[in-house]
Amino acid sequence: MPKENAIETRSSRKVYGAGSEAVVALDDVSIAIRKGEFFTLLGPSGCGKTTLLRLIAGFETPTSGHILLNGQDITDVPPNRRPVNTVFQSYALFPHLSVRENVGFGLQMKGRPASEIGTKVERALSMVQLGAMADRKPAQLSGGQQQRVALARALAPSPEVLLLDEPLSALDLKLRKEMQSELKRLQHELGITFIFVTHDQEEALTMSDRIGVMSSGRLLQIGSPREIYNHPVNRFVADFIGETNFIPADVHDGTATIAGDIAMQVAPDSPQGRHTIAVRPEHVRILNDPAAAPMRATVTDTTYFGTDSHVRMLLQGGTEIVARYQSEAAGGDAPTTGTDVGVSFAPGSVQVLQD
């Protein structure tokens, strides 16, 4: 039997409002999230990430399309009957209840016996290291502690899927890093499917098994962090994740030609014709001898960043590109402005974009 999907959306569409004020928040999103995976939805503000989570949690019904849980259609099942819990961006802790009561809320509503609630709450609290704070009210906790209560509250009823809507965005950098590894550890230990929302590309790359990149209500690409980073399908994805050089090129039979006569190998199944190719700055090599290199460029600007420098150059053919120059590895300082240098792209690093 093939491994089931925890969550599936089929051509899910969500339109807010009606008539001239209608906003298409989600446009035909189909996605399959595997059991036990750490899946991240990544995209700029307003692209529909929260809307997709709300559809999965059941707070909204899709305008059209279906939501499936373990292969069962749950499109019309209310949120209180879905084994899916949410960690809200604003935490949404109940201010009138103690930490213990907050964490026990889900189990209490499910009508579990008091003894079971007691042990499960203790376990959830110790999981997030908040056992000592059990009798406090949320207002008496720091932001990071509230965040962990929200996590414990969502985990205590043992959901099949945990939805996290930018849970770390309110935390400072240090706490954020700590919580990132803590979340990763918890997900690994519990084996629960995590659907994590962020607009921070670094967070997405370091934490996820797979990433779904969204823009304007559409799902542009799904893949592992490595696939997304190394093989972005289009300009938006390439631009959103990391820095990228874009160069216009003619692509034919596995060869891309730039600046009229410089040919380079690309994947044989790349789209044919006039396209843009993408090369990451760390894949751009600078050679001091222009004659020995396939391409020539003139340095226009060098910015020093400590371990490496960003060298901005005008490539022959007139395209501006950036190289990340590692002084240590290259055994010398980055070339200064005005120098003519040779340039090559690392083998296999050139990606042809769809549009």
Binding site: F59, F94, G106, M109
Partner: protein, 267 residues
Amino acid sequence: MARREFSASRIPGFPTVAILVFVALYMPILMLVIYSFNAGDSIAIWEGFSFKWYPVAWNNEQVREVTFRSLTVATMASVIATTVATMAALGTTRRRRTGGQTFIYLMINQPLMVPEIVTAVALLIFFASIKVATGYQGLGYLIAAHSAFCIPFAYLPIRARLEGMDRTLEVAASDLYATPWQAFRHVTLPLLMPGIAAGLMLAFVTSLDDVVITLFVKSAGQDTLPTYMLAQIRRSVSAEVNAISTLLLLLTVILLTAFFLLTRKRD
């Protein structure tokens, strides 16, 4: 010269006007309280300090009767008004915004805007026809009338509280397996409680001191404390009324202080 923000307290004559307003507001009340401790039975000539009017008022069978009636009406009316107001507030804030919203607010707050005398006459005529039809003469008319005009006083603090409430909390409750009723019972209602208590107190105080509508609606022998006092004062001026007023004042101050504390506290 440094620019300073506008402040009303720097308008010439502001302190004088402010003091005059406070004197006008509180001087009569202060006099009333002082003369409730007068040893003589005049409310104009001071004859020494005494507590005697308080036991006199307390031992007056009629005073006790009308006080009990006032408290009964105020309790019933404020409970009914607050229940209705709570449902109205839920109805107006817990649904999709539509164009009719302003109209609904106006309808609910109608007793605040329609002159009280108009409401009184309307109720008199309306209840008279019911009295003729049913023969019922009881306290029900007063309770119904008071309930109606107390609704906006209960509604306003409850609505304010609901509008300040984070809707995500109710969503979170439903996410954590609460049925809509459980979410209301375990999240919305407890968070709404300070607003409901404040509404209850405002409605109670409003009912307790109503004169106009009560005068028009009450049947014979259904005097409430304020209408009784009015009748007494017309007949003969007695320091007994001062003592009763002072006690009413004390009760109102206690309730309004509690209201203030409840609405100020934010969690």
